[in-house]
């Protein structure tokens, strides 16, 4: 290959384009993915640690959520990016298991590497993996326990268990009893057919301990910007009538581009009065509806604020559209874009409304809403990062509960299901001949990474425990997994370490897909980066192309 520097090079690609190909390329891609996997590994499991990331704009994030970490790592390697994508997809699809999916994908690739080095075509490996994942998924479905038939009360218990498992690896592990209730309450308060988790409002208020977080069966939002006169409004109502508007209640030019030509001085006053009349009519109409609380997405000016204060009406302008939506969902009624025809049915109501001080801010709370299809979680914590992490953890748990509600089949966590599938695939591989046997076996081995990593993060003897697990599964104890309390193994199904089967199925299939994708790439052509400010950081293009160092 080395012709020295005299070789007349034939330029096919634009200068600066980076091209590499061949088996070396696949292996190099795998290495890149494994570097990413390595970063995530310590975060898995209940004794997994967190990662502190300071982004280039000096924002600090402390997290243990795989998807969040990968996003913030800012991975640029094209192959490694697939890992980021699958963890994001897992996040979007099921919301939890983002770390596991990345670790699994990395492990599948790692297992494939020796085969590649031995010269087995990537396609054979891909085929083997596909077969393996198919078998694994159908096995999960077969193993999973359906709990639909259980009674109503158990339904809640099931959800609580799933939520608890999802929280076990997070910062809020120790307060999980407290948060589990919150999460299940909030998911159950949603419309059970739609389960739109966006309707669960999460407000972060620095200060206070985590246990001071609150679940509100209604809506809460921070006091909006207010004009003089606001403090004279009543701040506490029982069964108020609430009107929600999308109107600016301010003395202002009606149309931006309008211009009035005043002929006589006398007309001048008339125009001024007319403008006043417009706003006054609006205010009067609102007052006539009998509403006690006026909310608007658009500003409510000082004039209106004082007008309402005079009449013992509470008002809040510039309510964000998210909050407004949830208010509507909670109190009923609908957003009005005119004041002229507000009927009683357009008004909402709730049991109590009050404005209270939380931390250093004041919050407006609407509690006890009749048609509540929404709820709000007020999260507290000692530092912003703490709350941010609590929010991510709750999001994961909410998603899990949501999935469990939709799809009531569960499997045992703590590495139990992985071990069982691993055993099943191992047994299966013995029944077939040819290279596929090796590959399915490799797949089975890769699955063991989950319990192994769990042990490693907890500081247990991984080899020992893994062997015991293998034995237990061989003896037919299909729900045996790592037990963190006793540093040994145990039946995780009876210990209620439950996870929705969907999470596992999705994690396995997307990890396998990502692996197959990367295995099938054998050439990367990368165009020279544009003139970005970071260009200086990249190694000089073309350096070492094809030349072993």
């Amino acid at each position: 290959m080395n012709f020295g520097n005299q070789t007349p090079t034939i330029v096919v690609l634009k200068e600066g384009t980076d091209a590499s190909q061949g088996r070396g390329q696949i292996i190099s891609n795998i290495n890149a993915c494994m570097a990413v996997q390595e970063t995530l590994k310590p975060t898995l499991g209940p004794l997994g640690s967190d990662i502190l990331i300071v982004s280039s704009n000096q924002k600090t994030t402390i997290s243990n959520d795989g998807a969040t970490i990968l996003k913030l790592l800012d991975v640029v390697h094209p192959a490694a990016k697939t890992l980021v994508d699958i963890s994001r997809a897992q996040d979007a699809e099921v919301g939890d298991g983002t770390t596991s999916v990345t670790i699994l994908a990395g492990e599948f690739m790692k297992e494939a590497k020796p085969f590649l080095e031995e010269g087995i075509s990537p396609h054979i490996i891909i085929k083997g993996y596909r077969k393996a994942v198919q078998l694994a998924v159908s096995k999960i479905k077969e193993l999973a326990v359906d709990i639909t038939n259980n009674k109503e009360q158990n339904n809640r218990q099931l959800l609580e268990r799933c939520a608890k498992t999802a929280m076990s690896s997070k910062l809020i592990h120790n307060n999980s009893d407290f948060f589990v209730k919150m999460v299940v309450d909030s998911v159950l308060s949603l419309d059970q057919d739609e389960l739109d988790e966006k309707l669960i409002g999460i407000k972060k208020i620095p200060g206070g301990a985590m246990e001071e977080s609150m679940f509100i069966d209604g809506v809460a939002f921070e006091k909006t910007f207010s004009y003089a006169g606001f403090e004279q409004q009543p701040k506490n109502f029982k069964n108020p009538k609430i009107v929600s508007l999308n109107i600016e209640l301010e003395l202002k030019a009606e149309k931006d581009n309008a211009e009035v030509r005043v002929e006589h001085v006398e007309d001048y006053q008339a125009i001024v009065d007319a403008e006043w009349q417009i706003i006054l009519t609006k205010l009067e109409e609102i007052e006539k509806t009998g509403a006690n609380i006026v909310l608007s997405k658009l500003p409510i000016g000082d004039l209106a604020t004082q007008y309402f204060a005079d009449r013992n009406i509470f008002c809040a302008g510039r309510v964000s559209s998210d909050d407004m939506n949830r208010v509507i969902q909670a109190v009923g009624g609908s957003v009005q874009s005119t004041t002229s025809d507000i009927q009683p049915e357009h008004l909402g109501t709730c049991e109590t409304f009050e404005e209270i001080q939380i931390g250093s801010h004041r919050y407006n709370l609407f509690k006890g809403c009749p048609e509540a299809k929404t709820c709000t979680l007020l999260l507290r914590g000692g530092a912003e990062q703490v709350i941010a992490e609590v929010e991510r953890s709750l999001h994961d748990a909410i998603m899990i509960v949501k999935r469990a509600l939709q799809n009531k089949i569960v499997v045992a966590g703590g590495g139990a299901i992985e071990m069982e599938i691993s055993k099943y695939l191992r047994d299966y591989s013995k029944t077939i001949a040819g290279k596929q046997q090796l590959i399915i076996n490799a797949f089975a081995k890769a699955l063991e990474i989950i319990p192994r990593q769990l042990c490693e993060n907890a500081g247990f003897d991984g080899v020992e425990l893994l062997n015991r697990l293998r034995m237990a599964h061989f003896q037919g104890e299909k729900w045996y997994g790592i037990d963190f309390e006793t540093e040994s193994i145990g039946d995780n199904y009876n210990k209620f370490v439950w996870e929705p089967a969907l999470v596992k199925i999705n994690a396995l299939s997307s990890a396998t897909e990502a692996t197959n994708l990367i295995l099938s790439i054998d050439e990367t052509i990368k165009n020279k980066e544009g003139e970005s400010p970071n260009a200086g950081m990249a190694p000089p293009p073309g350096r070492g192309r094809g030349l072993p160092m």
Binding site: S20, Q25, I27, S28, N31, A32, M34, A35, E38, T39, P42, S49, D50, L52, V54, T60, I62, D74, V75, L171, N174, G207, A209, M210, E211, Y227, A228, F230, E231, Q232, L251, K252, A253, E259, V260, R261, V262, H264, V265, Y268, Q269, I271, E275, W276, D302, Q306, D310, Q357, G382, A383, Q385, V386, E389, P533, N534, A538, P539, G544, G546, M549
Partner: protein
Amino acid sequence: MAQPRTMDMPDLSNAIVAQDEMGRPFIIVRDQGNKQRQHGLEAKKSHILAARSVASIIKTSLGPRGLDKILISPDGEITITNDGATILSQMELENEVAKLLVQLSKSQDDEIGDGTTGVVVLASALLDQALELIEKGIHPIKIANGFDEAAKVAIRKLEGSTDDVALNKSEFHEYLFKAAKTSLGSKIVSKTHDKFANMAVDAVTAVMDEERKDVQFDLIKLEGRVGGSLEESSLINGVIIDKDFSHPQMPKQVLPKEGETGVKVAILTCPFEPPKPKTKHKLDISSVEEYQKLQNYEQDKFKEMIQYVKDSGADVVICQWGFDDEANHLLLQNKLPAVRWVGGQELELIAIATEGRIVPRFQDLSKEKLGTCKRVYEVEFGTTRDRMLVVEQGATNSKTVTCFIRGSNKMIVDEAKRALHDSLCVVRNLVKDSRVVYGGGAAEVTMSIAVSEEADRQKGIDQYAFRAFAQALDTIPMTLAENSGLDPIETLTTLKSKQIKEHTSVFGVDCLGKGSNNMKELFVVDPFIGKKQQILLATQLCRMILKIDNVIISGKDAY
């Protein structure tokens, strides 16, 4: 297992090491050469060291004999304070973990308003203890779990040793006063702390909503002015604004008219000028008559406005907007003292204080909408010519108060404001939750005894964590003793034995050398929720820091 050379690359900090089979370096993460990374024990150690150094800065400010710090901001402004949250927020720390501690003290400040130094000292003591355990080989998360359990025990004990002071209404006021005094003990105003404590208690009791136990801080205004001494600070039942009457010839003091109970105040949010439509408009003046008419119209308008005000019976006009000389003159002629350009918030406070309504239009002005106050007067300060306007509240039971602080220099005034804020918070907390624990480290000693007692009953690793937690709690009384010039170990041991012997939690460090350790007798009390919050926040932050074992910091661009 011998791993291939290419496997040694999880270390992202060195791009050259990451090579593929062909020896080509490749990049996984953007700017990876600039990224710093630490992980494992090394990361934890550096975090704990960072926390320790932060704590050691503010440690000496703890307690009544704590010392102040002087902070000079980049533009040369000087702050002298011993308030933990203020010191930390002005230090502009770079380290990530140190920043977390800053936030910790800030959230204590937001929530409780006091104990900001203590919480940081406690958190760093916990981390210090955790480091020792980590070095013994205990898993950090297990330590954190143990700490959580220990915190629960501590808080349970603390809750058991509280005294509810709200049982007796008449004594309650007394207790508020004492608690306020405790919080002022360590501040610059300790010389005049009776006065300040009284100010704090009176201010809070004036504005509190007894039924809902809600105290709205917006209604307490802190106003400072350089000059005079701290003793001249006072609580004004009303509002002070940094404005004066619009015309120098207006009277300096407005007293109620004869036969009236109070001064009537008109509060306006409309300017003293001819109204303008908001819509873009144009008036073509084509003749002299038209022009004349316009001028008349404007003058009529002014007169009309003044007339409206007069008719309503107002004695003073407070206006959010300005008015020109012509209006000013007319106001003077009509004997209507006026104030212009009053900010929205102040206007609101005046409205609340005088129970008036803010009026957006002259036409709406009526007698009912006027506010009432005892008097409105200007105050002058020493030889300076600045003046401030005081709107003094009458007998009405409306609620706004202003704490007016004087001091010989700006630093003292600012520090006194912060001190007063702290004690306002303490009083508010007691109004919210009237349980108190004893200060001077007494509560910490009680908790420490309880936790170490409980330690022996724990199985496994928690035992270590419990003991470590108890030791961390001891840091507070020890630091207090140290700052007061006492022998820390001797003090602590005496306190502990005394508390155990007499089964009570009232013994604390006698910082001021009063000759007694009985905090109940010395009336050194802290609100229970403040202490509880300290323990919870410190433990949770500690958990967060212990959980981190991987730090990735994006490098800054090298120019």
